[in-house]
């Protein structure tokens, strides 16, 4: 009758193998029965179903059905699933058709090839229609395992846009980024920038580390009364550590001397000095001039307006407070009309007749009042205003630890592992942050208190925290031009107590460093005005701070143009705490003692520098 061919094996009609090109695989002896029926099925397609059904009772062997079904199944899934359904329990029977029918696997590969073509098409579509990418990719990915690689290739694009923003939100909850001047992250992004936000109140001015700090130095000295320029050549403005007035010296052309000559004016001549936008008002009090062949020189000097409160301008007074009054009130009473005094030091009630002085100008009496608790009188550079502030606004032992300008604080977590140098903020923010001096695991419970006024370290589980200092400004090593230091020899660093006493109607007792026995005593101090424990405590704190071992550093810095604020510390003020980066990158804290601004000229080029003395305690 003929020969039945499949792709590899050739069988005779009676089912014997007659040497086809391939190897017969599992050709059992009864195969011929299948072939017969199969042939019939091909000839009479309409009767196929009936024939295969007829085979069922005769042929318990599954292979018959498998063989029969495959060639006919155009929609591939249906026949395969039909067979599976019928022979779910016949695994052995199921296998032979698969082995036997190499054409089956050929079809499978054909199917795969077709699917691959589909996938490529999708890929191409995805590239050309970017907006449809997500829908198409998700459809393909769910159906076709083979599309796994292209799916992955697609991911980075989606992740760059979507996942980053999703992750950033929970991450930010734990971040406390220090305020600092903004800068574009990458120069290529044109982000519309609405200007710098104001730094949060009390936060440090962070001077950005730059390769070049550029400024255009400006110097002008104008007569206040009529704004006539006295054509200043150079100028130096300074406020020394205990002075209650700014002082200045300037060189002016000799021909301009008549403009400000105090000898020829009936009233003191005031000048307004402007250096890089910072303004001072001075009273010209002295001058020196020189005339010689080929040139003239003239230098003028004077003090800021608080000089009007000195013995040179104000009458001397002897007085005694008839009634008890607060120290700040006594200070107010000293001021003539038009002057204000701001008292920021601790205040106390001065008993009657304790504040008494003989033949003192107002400013000297005020200085005496302030000195009783170790405070200083700070003059305003322009206005008729004075401030009384402690010499040490924060005791050196409570400054806290320096922290890098770009340090990022995280919210404190219980049972968390912290490394040395990690910085946290309390779960309930108190405006301060804390640096780990020693790493370890934090406790399961939040520390009972987060000190804001004590620089002493404290432990929390295995971590030792210390308050992070809150300096006025953080200055990178790129900013200062030189630092020269001078150690004030003091080998007894361990003073921790001092007896402070008033005099008649006063109080007396010991002030000591917290946590110490106060046995290493400084020489006792007494002042008639110490009639309240608050005054005694402040005076004792001042004495202990003054006796602390220290080093005086003289910084030389540029003076960036006014106004001070963002990235610009401006003219430093006495009492301000600075954080400086040393040449080796270490950080230290120092308090400003005095400041001087020099505008100098070499030939015609003007140069402006700021020099500040800084007291350093560690």
């Amino acid at each position: 009758m003929g020969t039945l061919y499949d792709s590899k094996n050739i069988y005779d009609w009676d089912g014997t193998y007659d040497g086809g090109p391939g190897v017969p695989i599992g050709a059992p002896s009864h195969t011929h029965q299948l072939r017969v029926r199969y042939e019939k099925g091909q000839q009479h397609e309409g009767a196929l179903t009936a024939v295969t059904h007829q085979a069922q009772p005769e042929q318990s062997d599954l292979r018959l059905r498998g063989d029969a079904g495959v060639p006919f199944d155009r929609p591939m899934h249906a026949p395969w699933s039909a067979i599976t359904a019928l022979q779910a329990d016949e695994r052995l029977a199921w296998r032979p058709p698969l082995d036997h029918e190499s054409s089956t696997s050929a079809r499978w590969s054909a199917t795969v090839a077709r699917d691959r073509a589909v996938r490529i098409g999708v890929d191409r579509t995805a590239e050309s229609h970017a907006s449809d990418v997500r829908a198409r990719w998700s459809g393909v990915g769910a159906v076709q395992r083979e599309t796994l690689l292209p799916w992955r290739r697609g991911l980075p694009r989606g992740r760059a846009v979507r996942l980053r923003s999703l992750e950033a939100q929970p991450h930010n909850l734990f971040l406390r980024l220090p305020w600092r001047p903004g800068a574009p992250f990458r120069s290529g992004y044109g982000i519309p920038y609405g200007g710098e936000p104001d730094p949060p109140p009390g936060s440090a001015i962070i001077v950005p580390p730059l390769e070049v700090y550029s400024m255009t130095p400006v110097l002008s000295i104008l007569r206040v009364s009529d704004a006539v320029d006295v054509l200043a050549i150079d100028c130096s403005v300074s406020l020394s550590s205990d002075a209650w007035a700014w002082s200045f010296q300037a060189s002016i052309p000799w021909k301009c001397l008549p403009l400000v000559n105090p000898n020829t004016h009936s009233s003191p001549v005031e000048v307004q000095v402007t250096i890089n936008g910072y303004v001072w008002k001075f009273v010209v009090e002295a001058f020196a001039d020189e005339r010689k062949f080929g040139g003239t020189n003239c230098r003028i000097s004077g003090r800021s307006l608080s000089a009007y409160l000195s013995a040179d301008y104000a009458p001397l007074v002897s007085d005694s407070n008839a009634i008890a009054a607060d120290a700040s009130q006594l200070a107010d009473d000293l001021m003539p009309t038009g002057w204000t005094v701001t008292w920021t030091s601790p205040d106390w009630l001065v008993a009657a007749n304790l504040f008494t002085y003989a033949d003192l100008a107002p400013i000297s009496a005020l200085a005496q009042l302030a000195a009783s608790i170790g405070s200083i009188v700070v003059p305003d550079p322009v206005d008729q205003a004075l401030t009384i502030q402690p010499t040490y606004p924060v005791s050196p032992w409570n400054w806290g630890a320096p922290a890098p300008a770009d340090a990022v604080a995280h919210t404190w977590l219980a049972s968390h592992t912290y490394a040395e140098g990690d910085i946290v903020t309390p779960p309930t923010p108190n405006g301060r942050s804390y640096i780990a001096l020693e790493g370890g695991n934090s406790d399961t419970l939040e520390p009972g208190s987060w000190p804001t006024d004590s620089g002493e370290s404290f432990t929390d589980g295995g971590v030792t925290w210390q308050l992070v200092a809150a300096p006025y400004a953080k200055i990178p090593k790129a900013f200062w031009t030189s630092i020269s230091g001078q150690w004030e020899g003091n080998f007894v660093a361990g003073y921790n107590g001092v007896y402070v006493s008033g005099q008649n109607s006063g109080v007396s007792g010991r002030v000591k460093r917290a946590g110490t026995d106060g046995a290493a005593l400084l020489p006792s101090v007494s002042d008639a005005l110490i009639c309240h424990v608050d005054a005694a405590r402040e005076r004792g704190r001042h004495e202990l701070a003054k006796a602390d071992r220290r080093k005086t550093e003289t910084l030389r810095l540029p003076l960036l143009p006014a106004p001070a604020g963002i990235g610009n510390p401006g003219v430093l003020q006495r009492g301000q705490l600075l954080q400086l980066e040393e040449i080796d990158g270490t950080l230290w804290l120092g308090q400003v003692l005095s400041v001087q601004i020099d505008a100098t000229r070499s030939s015609t080029a003007l140069s402006v520098r700021q020099t500040a003395s800084v007291e350093r305690h560690a």
Partner: protein
């Protein structure tokens, strides 16, 4: 920059006003006092045992009346 007057006065010897309590009145017109910081000092002058006195330059300057003592203050 540095206030040289302050630096000068800072190194000059000073004898501060001290507050003491008379322990014993001696026969040679001196008194031995206990200072507020616990030190002992014998100075010229007279007084009554238990009185608080101001001492300067080796002699009792005055009676310290109305001085109240406060407990240790931590800073």
């Amino acid at each position: 920059m540095i206030n040289f007057w302050r630096r000068l006065t800072g190194i000059l010897p000073t004898d501060p006003l001290r507050l003491g309590t008379i322990d014993t009145v001696n026969a040679d017109n001196t008194v031995t006092c206990t200072l507020s910081n616990g030190g002992k000092l014998t100075v010229r002058g007279t007084g009554t045992v238990g009185d608080q006195v101001w001492i300067r330059d080796g002699k009792v300057q005055d009676t310290a009346s109305g001085v109240t003592t406060f407990a240790d203050q931590d800073v």
